[in-house]
């Protein structure tokens, strides 16, 4: 039995594009020479790498000599931040960033902070946006650089605006942006936006994994990261990942050329998904309603823990992810959601569905069908809402005691009582056999438990 798989985790990584694969294949087969070799086969590889560099540069409005290939977004972030810190450590020891950065930036800056820098982490509003005024106020005489992500990976909010770069430029502060989620999805022009350094990652726009690049404006000196044979103009030694670099460039070229078309389509799918999921009771959208990446739909669900939702959706063949990291023994709520002001319990119930141009509207309908489950008739919903209100006011057990005593008081002839009991049991079966994270139809977790409790309560009432 083959399960129908709906891949809705494109912000984690996405499938390699056909174009990228095609471009890569020769360099995995016949064209295997080292680009540093002087014979013609080597020169072919060199040409391929340099052509890729030009492609990447033109995709973000940069010059080819400003692009350095890396092993991914994390390396690009680490390299950029550590290099800047090293460069400024004697004169300026203040850094500005946001509280919702990716861990590649968050943890690198944490380490830099330990070495004696002062880091200002700008707070965000409920949508995950920073305030430009606050950013300007935070700039001091000894501010070395600003690092603000272009778009958030968990909630999809777009933070990058031309103003950040122009304000930084006015004050003579270097501006780095972690654009891993944004490049290839939204238009980025490093000149127009006054970006000094930019990190990008290949596999977020359908390139191969293990590839990335760092853009560094010509006049902002970059210290070498890897030492060795002096590749990448002496800044990052190590034989170039030729096939990877070619694949990254092909995928980026494809993404940028089709950006408008893809973005319109994916946005429409995303909006349909958001609209449908928000119909489920007790679900909230996270991130900005409009200023968000085309593919990312992210939510928090009351009363259900994130990992449970992911596993449940997985059972139905839907690949999604949860912002809540649940690895080191203790389950921690996402720092991004906490920064947007959500309470911890709610932040732990996060779910992110991220779409790409590969997804169809059938995929979205399938996700919605699974998530929404079958809704009970309006009358039952009303009764359940009353019971829920009771629960909120008196607490769970108190509500059940209350209902229990009502039942004791009620004088109903037994055949009718049994009949309605059977009716409610049937309803219960119907709804329990249906879908995950609808509050009425979940097969697991507190949510299910409360659904059962509600039905039990109705059964008792009758």
């Amino acid at each position: 039995m083959t399960k129908q798989i709906v891949y809705a985790d494109n912000a984690a990584t996405c499938a390699l594009s056909e174009k990228a694969l095609e471009a890569m294949l020769p360099y995995l087969k016949a064209e295997y020479a080292n680009p540093s070799s002087v014979y013609s086969l080597g020169r072919d590889s060199r040409r391929a790498v340099e052509k890729a560099r030009e492609t990447v540069a033109s995709a973000i409005g940069a010059l080819p000599e400003e692009i350095f290939f890396t092993s991914g977004g994390t390396e690009a972030d680490n390299w950029a931040l550590k290099s800047l810190a090293k460069r400024f450590e004697r004169e300026k020891r203040h850094i500005i960033t946001t509280s919702i950065e990716h861990h590649a930036v968050l943890n690198t800056l944490g380490r830099i902070e330990e070495s004696g820098f002062e880091v200002t982490r700008l707070g965000v509003n409920e949508f995950g946006q920073i305030s430009i005024d606050e950013l300007c106020c935070a700039i001091r005489g000894d501010t070395a650089f600003i690092s603000v992500m272009a778009a958030n990976n968990e909630i999809g909010t777009i933070l990058l605006s031309p103003e950040i770069g122009s304000r930084a430029r006015e004050r003579g502060v270097i501006f780095h942006t972690d654009a891993v989620q944004a490049v290839g999805h939204i238009p980025i022009d490093v000149r127009a936006m006054n970006i000094d350094l930019l990190s990008l990652s290949g596999h977020k726009f359908r390139g191969p994994k293990g590839t990335g690049a760092l853009f560094v404006r010509r006049d902002s000196a970059l210290l070498p990261d890897m030492l060795g044979g002096g590749q990448e103009r002496g800044k990052r030694s190590g034989t170039e990942n030729v096939a990877g670099i070619v694949g990254l460039a092909a995928a980026l070229d494809d993404s940028v050329k089709n950006m408008k078309k893809n973005s319109e389509r994916v946005c429409a799918l995303r909006d349909r998904l958001i609209e449908g999921v928000l119909k489920i009771p007790r679900v909230r959208l996270t991130g900005h309603p409009v200023k968000r990446l085309p593919g990312i739909a992210s939510f928090v669900v009351e009363c259900i823990e994130g990992e449970s939702m992911v596993m449940m959706l997985d059972h139905y063949g839907i690949c999604a992810s949860s912002g809540s990291a649940c690895s080191s023994g203790s389950q921690e709520a996402s720092h991004v959601l906490l920064a947007t002001g959500l309470p911890e319990q709610l932040a732990r119930g996060s779910i992110r569905l991220s779409l790409s141009e590969d997804n169809s509207s059938e995929d979205v309908e399938r996700i919605l069908q699974i998530c929404q489950g079958r809704r009970p008739p309006a009358g039952i919903v009303a009764i359940m809402e009353i019971i829920r209100a009771l629960k909120c006011i008196f607490g769970f057990s108190a509500a059940s005691y209350f209902i229990f005593s009502v039942r004791r008081l009620a004088f109903v002839s037994s055949p009718i009582r049994w009949l309605s009991k059977a009716f409610c049991m049937a309803l219960l079966c119907v709804h329990l056999s249906s879908r995950p994270f609808s509050i009425y139809g979940s097969a697991a977790s507190y949510c299910l438990a409360s659904a059962v409790a509600k039905y039990q309560a109705i059964i008792m009432l009758t």
């Binding site: 823990e305 449970s308 059972h315 769970f396 229990f404 697991a444 507190y446 299910l448 438990a449 059962v452």
Partner: protein
């Protein structure tokens, strides 16, 4: 999770938890965890002649927490209070065919909530 996966039994109990919900008129209830910032489990007991006649739970937590809670109630049902009080987190983990290492702490949730419920029963009926 580093290569460690959930056993089929864990997934089974996660997908169709046994004894979930609340009992209408429980003799005792026990809690473990903090509902505001972590996993929490409430167990309801209905006791007759010193035997756990009915048991149910409400849980907020990850896959392992849900499976553990379900298995705890499964293990405790039909046992005498003394026997049930002896159920340890190891018993629960074993009954689930093991848990990933970083989820082992979840099984403590089940054992502790059960013990708490049994204690509360004793307190309520002044048996100890």
């Amino acid at each position: 999770m580093f290569g460690e996966e959930y056993s089929d039994k864990v997934i089974d109990h996660f997908m169709s938890p046994r004894n979930s919900g609340i009992l209408p008129d429980p003799d005792a209830e026990g809690m473990c965890g903090d509902p505001n910032c972590g996993d929490s489990l409430t167990i309801y007991l209905s006791v007759k002649d010193n035997i756990i006649e009915d048991i149910s739970f409400l849980v907020y937590g990850c896959v392992a927490a849900i499976a553990t809670s379900s298995m705890t109630t499964e293990l405790a049902k039909g046992k005498t209070l003394e026997e049930a009080a002896k159920i340890t987190d190891k018993d629960i983990t074993q009954a689930l065919d093991g848990l990933p290492e970083n989820k082992l702490h979840c099984s403590a949730l089940g054992a502790e909530a059960l013990k708490d419920a049994i204690n509360n029963y004793y307190v309520r009926y002044r048996l100890k």
